[in-house]
């Protein structure tokens, strides 16, 4: 029936036009970067309306997550009208959320990359760095593993796949000699820090990369759990995640000397070699609630919480 067909075509067309208009996708050429979704017009951080609640969205590193969560809870206690939402996903996730303007604060266990900065500029986002704590990354093994210490070079060999057996690093008596290498995945800042400081030995071996056989887990907790369950595994986690289910390995720095245990005090006096700052990034200098939150966090209360979670405060 003619009217049926016309009616149908019109309805389908109307639907398509409506959906395209809603998507707001401008016609693109294929070369170079394309932002699929143009940034929304409303900025995320809002001034608290008189009497209303405002929200701070914090996304990113699972290493910094305990700090952000502790701050969020304590801050909310003190300021009932501010909701602070915290979620993980990895440093890369957090920075991307900041660039996409879906987060007010990106928490990260690594510095922002140049490529990320460029993308941010393209989106009119200006990431400002705030160092909120110091952290160490500790190599961990199963509690039954007899290993006491390893050098950075040995760790690099293990993680890049050059060395695959425990006997090659002087550990005897393992039921299974093959080393099971456990790592974070590429969304993680800890992944990047470990790659730079350990696998690439601080720049001495810039071509080294993670061995393909390394298991990629998506959080500190996952890594710890896997190592705790696997007798011949080695992994790495942030200081704040060390507990009795795993055993830490002391590290001999590149410069030689004694093996240093990954403890809070050793990170504080800078003797532990695998240490880095933990960061929060904001879009531009923070204002309003976000500024208040960060100031609070860098103050006595916030830094006390940093210490409580097992990290090292910034002076």
């Amino acid at each position: 029936m003619k009217s049926t067909r016309i009616g149908l075509i019109l309805l389908v067309l109307a639907f398509l036009v409506a959906s395209v208009a809603l998507m707001g996708c401008p016609p693109q050429d294929e070369t170079g970067d394309e932002a699929m979704m143009p940034p929304e017009d409303t900025p995320m951080d809002e001034e608290p309306a008189e009497g209303g609640t405002s929200t701070i969205e914090i996304i990113g590193s699972t290493t910094v997550l305990p700090i952000a969560t502790a701050w969020a809870e304590a801050y909310h206690e003190a300021h009932q009208d501010v909701d602070v939402n915290v979620s993980g996903g990895g440093s890369g996730n957090g920075i991307k959320a900041l660039i996409d303007q879906t987060a007010d604060i990106a928490i990260s266990s690594r510095e922002i990359k140049d490529s990320e900065r460029e993308l941010a500029q393209q989106n009119d986002v200006n990431p400002i760095e705030h160092m909120v704590a110091y952290d160490g990354i500790a190599p961990i093994v199963h509690p039954d593993n007899p290993v006491g210490s390893l050098t950075i070079e040995q760790l690099s060999d293990i993680y890049s796949g050059e060395v695959t057996k425990w006997s090659e690093v002087g550990v005897a008596g393992m039921a299974n000699d093959d080393i099971v290498v456990v790592s974070r995945d590429s969304a993680s800042g800890t992944f990047e820090s470990w790659k730079e400081m350990v696998i690439q030995m601080g720049g001495e071996a810039p071509d080294r990369d993670y061995a393909p056989a390394a298991l990629k887990k998506n959080s500190n907790k996952d890594v710890r759990q896997t190592v705790a369950d696997t007798a011949s595994a080695i992994g790495y986690i942030g200081l704040g995640y060390i507990d009795d289910s795993v055993k830490t390995v002391a590290v001999v720095p590149m410069s030689g000397g004694d093996a240093i245990k990954p403890t809070h005090d050793n990170v504080q006096d800078q003797s532990y070699p695998i240490a880095r700052g933990l960061y929060m990034y904001t879009d531009g200098e923070p204002t309003g609630t976000v500024a208040d939150f960060l100031d609070w966090g860098m103050g006595e209360d916030g830094q006390a919480l940093v210490e409580q979670e097992g990290f090292v405060r910034v002076e």
Partner: protein, 300 residues
């Protein structure tokens, strides 16, 4: 007069609505394909198809970025083939039992029970696999070092593909004309002989379709494999690859998409994986559809 007119308009609207709903399905598939294509085409300016499909190293954050998808493709292949090896015999046997051998009361319990497997969320399978089943294997078998490996993914996927295979095989058996069954018995064959030599061969196309649809389900599964396979993008080595960690295409997208800014090469590479998955699943489903249609024609 007016009431009749009104009723006709109402009917017209409802018909158009339903028609549109039907067409929307096709439109959506086309749009998804277009979306995937558009976001993966820029990848081919950076790497050749050969480098992508045959490259053996997936390391997107190393230097310029290595985007060899072969370890991921093989990872998906291992997990899927393993899942089929486990679920096809099991599913076929269950279907035969439910359709032909089970007493009616048991059938009434079994059928919904199998279908309930389909209702369990994939993340639950992943969780059980990761916390209970995987460590059990690692504790009891020396060759299995970590409780996260390819065959574990296959095992959990077997339970997820099972309801699909069972119900489609069962339908296939029902579609076989009863005459074939009865004439076989009349010729003196035992029940078992009838099932294995008359019923199953007659339902052959339906069974193939069931296998293909189970395959489509298994290859697209993301959450479970993300949790239980260990996510190590290695090139699996022969049969030993089954008891070692691997990474599937789906898990790669799920793990890495969150942190990849729009418009980067990594972003396009992940879309290319998505495109490949789409093509594979689409192809498998189309073949299954053709097979099903042919089997219905054969029987008619």
């Amino acid at each position: 007069m007016l009431r009749k007119r009104f009723a006709r308009v109402q009917e017209w609207i409802i018909e158009r609505f339903i028609q549109m709903a039907g067409i929307m399905g096709i439109v959506l598939v086309i749009l998804i394909f277009y979306f995937l294509l558009r976001n993966s085409l820029p990848m081919f300016e950076e790497r050749t198809v050969g480098q992508l499909l045959a490259g053996t190293r997936w390391s997107p954050t190393h230097g310029d970025g290595k985007f060899g998808m072969l370890p991921l493709i093989l990872g998906s292949l291992y997990v899927t083939v393993g899942a089929l090896v486990l679920s096809v015999p099991l599913g076929l046997a269950t279907a035969v039992f439910i359709a032909e051998l089970a007493p009616p009361r048991m059938r009434e319990i079994l059928k919904p029970a199998v279908e309930m497997l389909a209702a369990i969320p994939s993340v639950v399978f992943g969780f059980i696999g990761m916390t209970v089943v995987g460590p059990w294997f690692a504790d009891h078998f020396n060759a299995i070092q970590v409780g996260q490996f390819a065959a574990l993914g296959s095992l959990m996927l077997c339970f997820m593909a099972l309801p699909t295979i069972v119900s489609i095989c069962e339908d296939a058996f029902h579609n076989v004309p009863r005459e074939i069954f009865n004439s076989s018995l009349a010729l003196g064959a035992t029940r078992w002989q009838t099932i294995t030599r008359a019923l199953i061969p007659a339902a052959r196309s339906g069974i193939i379709a069931a296998v293909l649809l189970g395959l489509g389900r298994a290859i697209g599964e993301t959450m479970t494999v993300l949790m239980v396979t260990g996510n190590a993008q290695v090139m699996p080595e022969g049969l030993k690859g089954f008891i070692k960690p691997i990474r599937t295409m789906t898990a790669t997208i799920a793990a890495e998409m969150g942190e990849t800014p729009h418009g980067t090469t990594h972003f396009h590479a992940l879309f290319t994986i998505g495109l490949l998955l789409f093509i594979i699943t689409f192809g498998v489903n189309t073949i299954a559809d053709i097979v099903i249609r042919r089997s219905e024609k054969d029987i008619a």
